[in-house]
Structure formats: C-alpha cells, structure tokens
C-alpha cells in the first residue's frame, strides 16, 4: 500500500518535471536558435514478490512471478537539434546555418562556447560579436567605412570600401561539428559547451563534405519549438499528473478503511 503511494508520488514528480521542461520550451518559442528539449522517463526497479521458477508445491513451479514496480523517474531531457524555420531579417550580419554546424563564440572568460543563434553585431573595434558582446571565432573585423558586407555560403566575409570596386576580404567563418550534439551542455543565452557525451568539436569550413552545413546571410534561425506539440504534451502531462493524484487518494481511502476495521 505504501508502495502505491510512493509509486504515485514518483509519477507526480516526473510529470512536474515534464511540465517544467514544456514551460521552458514554450517560454523560448521565440528565442532565435533555441533548440527544444524533450523529457524522457524510465521505470524504476521492480520488487519480486514471487520469484519465477520458485516451487509452488511439491511438483509444480511458478511459471512467472509477481513483480511489483516502484514507479518512474526522469532519465534525461535531450536536446532536439531539428532545424528551425528561417526568418528573413535583411540584416547583413544575421546568418543561419543550413546543416549541423555551430558558430564558435569566445566568452569573456576566454572559454569557447558554441551556438546556433547567428545574430551578430559590430562592437566598437569593428569585430563581429553576439548580442552579449562575446566575440565570434575566428575573429572577423570590419572597418567603420565598409559598405555592402557580404557573407558567402562558404563563410568568406567580404566588404567594399567607398569609391573602390574591388571587394576586400575580412576573413573566413568556420563552424564546429559534434559527433553527438544531443550530448551538449546548455549554458543559457543560446550557448552550448561540449561534454564527454558530445565529443570534442571538429572545425570545418561551411559547405565542406562533413555535413557541417552552409551559411545564409540575412536570415535568422527561429526556435524549433512546435507550440502545438508542446500544448499536446502539456495536456497529456497534466492528465497523467491528475491520474497519479487519484491513485494517492484511492490508496489513502483504502488505508482509512483498514484503520476503521477495528472500532
């Protein structure tokens, strides 16, 4: 009986976590480059009440035993790296990666982080930075007098100076690729850090054969959260929570009746 109470409680905790995850996905439905996460659950250990194969009588054995499960637990919430929609922004410093790659960002601490959000700006030294001011790696510098900044699909950045017809080369954007992107560690601010599970970054130029992807200038990758799917998950999760709370109530009622046996 106490097992039923704890199993139901574990179900309620798991659904709570599921709803926390859905809430974060929905809150980020408009964050550029955000990748949704999906919670995964596992059943807990089983308690053997009657072990299969034990003897039931002098000449018979129990063919299958009685196993009572002890509830559920959240096992992981993996990142779903499905491509988000592209929105045209006409900002020459916005870009999307059409493929699996990541931009490399040098954080203030000096550590390199990775992102899919390709919304860049120029800082006071003319370097390409994220909206938080972290520099894009490798560093791209554009002089203040530059006009018509162009980013090719292979990551070559060029600009023209006033009165000159010849385009100037500002540098080459390279992208990072991971063996298992779902194993990356979210840092917030759309940044990811590599872990043992994701493997180390391999750097390549866009458009290469490694499947890293190509760059498209003037577009931003939208969040890949599907609001419809999240709402459906929210409904099923809420109902599952309710069902577990009903089990708590039922176990409590039955317990009460046991206690009322003696008057």
């Amino acid at each position: 009986m106490i097992r039923a109470l704890y199993s139901a409680a574990s179900g309620m905790t798991a659904q709570q976590l599921n709803i926390d995850n859905i809430a974060n996905n929905l809150a980020n439905a408009n964050s550029a480059g955000y990748k949704s996460r999906r919670a995964q659950f596992q059943d807990l250990l089983y308690q053997n009440m009657v072990t299969p194969g034990s003897s039931a009588g002098q000449s018979t054995v129990v063919p299958t035993g009685l196993q009572l499960g002890l509830g559920t637990r959240a096992s992981s919430n993996e990142i779903i790296f499905q491509q988000g929609d592209f929105a045209a922004t006409n900002n020459p410093l916005d870009m999307v990666i059409q493929g699996r790659g990541f931009f490399q960002i040098k954080q203030a601490s000096g550590q390199t982080a990775y992102t899919r959000a390709g919304s860049f700006h120029l800082d006071n030294t003319g370097s390409l930075v994220t909206s938080d001011g972290d520099q894009l790696q490798p560093q791209i510098t554009i002089p203040p007098t530059a006009q018509a900044i162009s980013i090719a699909t292979d990551g070559t950045v060029t600009y023209t100076l006033p009165g000159q017809a010849q385009a100037q080369n500002a540098g080459q954007i390279t992208l990072a690729n991971f063996q298992n992107p779902a194993g990356l560690n979210s840092l917030g601010r759309s940044l990811y850090l590599p872990t043992d599970a994701s493997g180390d970054a391999t750097i390549g130029t866009p458009g290469g054969t490694e499947g890293i992807g190509t760059l498209q200038q003037g577009y931003l990758e939208q969040s890949n959260v599907s609001v419809v799917d999240e709402f459906i998950n929210l409904i099923t999760s809420q109902r599952a929570y309710e069902a577990n709370s009903k089990v708590v109530k039922a176990a409590d009622d039955m317990y009460q009746q046991v206690n009322n046996l003696t008057r």
Partner: protein
C-alpha cells in the same frame, strides 16, 4: 478468525497488490516503450488444508498468483530525431549492458563520443550477429523497416530485434526486460522499425480509471464483509451466551 474474515482479508490484500500494480502503471504513462502489468487472480489452496467434511471442497483463498505484462502496442509519437526508433509490431531492441544482454522497446538512442549507437543510459545497442553499430559523424542516417542502418550507400549494421514469449521476460527497470532463467529468444518476425518515431507507454487511458474505481469499490465491499463477520462474532459472544433471567 472465522471463515468470512479470513476470505475477506485475503481479498483485501490482493486488492492492495492490484492497486500497487496500477499505481506503477499510472506512474509510467509517459515512459517510452513501457508495457503495463496486469494481475492474475487465482485461488490459493494450502497443501495442509483439510477438506470440508460435508462438501469435500478444499479450503481456498483468493490471491494474486502472478502478474503478466501486456505486450500491446503503445502509441507512436513523431519526434523527427533521426536516432529515435520505434518498433511497429513484434520485437524488442537488444542492448549490451554490463549485466549481459537486455531488451527494450524504448528506441530513444544516441551516439557515444566514439560514434557507437547507445541507449540514453549509454549501453551499446547490439547489431545482428553480435557487435555494435558504429556511425560516422555528419552523414545522414537512414533506417529501413527491417532495421538496417545505412549512411549514404554504406551499411553500418542491422538492429538486432529479438522476440520472446511475454511470460519469459522479467522487468528490470530502466526500460529493460531480462530473460527469465530457462527462457529462450528467437529472431523477431513481422516487426517493422520506424525512424524518427518513439513508442509511448501502453498504460493509462480511461481503462485505468475504471480499474482504479473497481479496485476501490471491491476493497470497500470486502471491508464491509469483514465488518459483518466481526458483527456476527460480537453478537455470538454477547447475545447467544446471554442467560435469560
């Protein structure tokens, strides 16, 4: 104790175990590839029980003899993740764990840093004929319905789908099934592997609500029966033995 109370107490104990099975099912309504447990009621006959001298019937009591796992197909959810697999029909994925081969219906797989296809817990998925499935980074993965994993034109391996009698498997937690001692596995026939989909749990739904209500009501009836037994005992003690003056 009298016969009514003994029978009612045995029934109440069995309903409590039923509720425990149901609680675990309902807690796992969102667990990928979970298969619901059902109870199997039986009559317990004690080896030492003496037959009723008038009818010759043995004294029997209701108990849950064992549970059985409902192998029914769970709902298939579209996830779009190329490393999510669901089996439509018969079969389980074979997984190499540190404790030996285990089987699961949860096809939420990923790649290890070395490029090996593993479960979310990091255990390697077994390929047909033994060994693991190793994938190259950055090349699209395609899986056909027979479980063959391809990258471009190159075959990386085939998922090893196993099938066995539901009676011959034991649940182990972490979405794993283990073979009971003496059970045997045969290759699955008729199951199709679907890529980008995950199988949901087959527990939950309106049927569970009905079961919950029925367990509660049956328990209540048994509790009433027990009260009646008590009441009869009380009267026998207090009233039958009363000496009229």
């Amino acid at each position: 104790m009298d016969a009514i109370s003994i029978a009612a107490a045995s029934g109440m104990r069995a309903r409590m175990e039923s509720l425990e099975l149901l609680a675990n099912n309902l807690a796992n309504t969102e667990t990928g590839g979970y298969k619901a447990d059902r109870e199997f009621y039986s009559l317990y006959t004690s080896a030492d029980a003496s037959a009723d001298p008038q009818t010759g019937a043995l004294a029997t009591l209701p108990v849950i003899e064992h549970h059985w796992t409902d192998p029914a197909q769970g709902d298939l959810h579209q996830t779009g993740n190329p490393l999510d697999f669901a089996i439509d029909g018969d079969g389980l994925f074979s997984v190499q764990t540190s404790r030996g081969l285990r089987y699961t219906r949860n096809g939420n797989f990923r790649l290890s840093p070395a490029g090996v296809l593993t479960t979310s817990g990091g255990d390697a998925v077994q390929a047909k004929g033994g060994g693991t499935i190793r994938l190259q980074p950055g090349i699209a993965v395609e899986v056909s319905s027979d479980g063959s994993v391809r990258q471009g034109a190159q075959l990386s391996g085939q998922l090893d789908l196993a099938s066995f009698d539901p009676q011959a498997m034991n649940k182990e937690g972490h979405n794993y099934f283990a073979l009971v001692a003496g059970g045997s596995v045969k290759p699955a026939a008729g199951g199709a592997v679907l890529q980008g989909k995950l199988e949901g749990s087959n527990a939950g739904g309106p049927e569970s609500a009905v079961r919950l209500v029925s367990i509660m009501r049956q328990f209540e009836m048994l509790q009433k029966a027990m009260s009646i037994g008590n009441e009869l005992n009380r009267r026998a003690i207090e009233e039958v033995a009363r000496v009229q003056q």
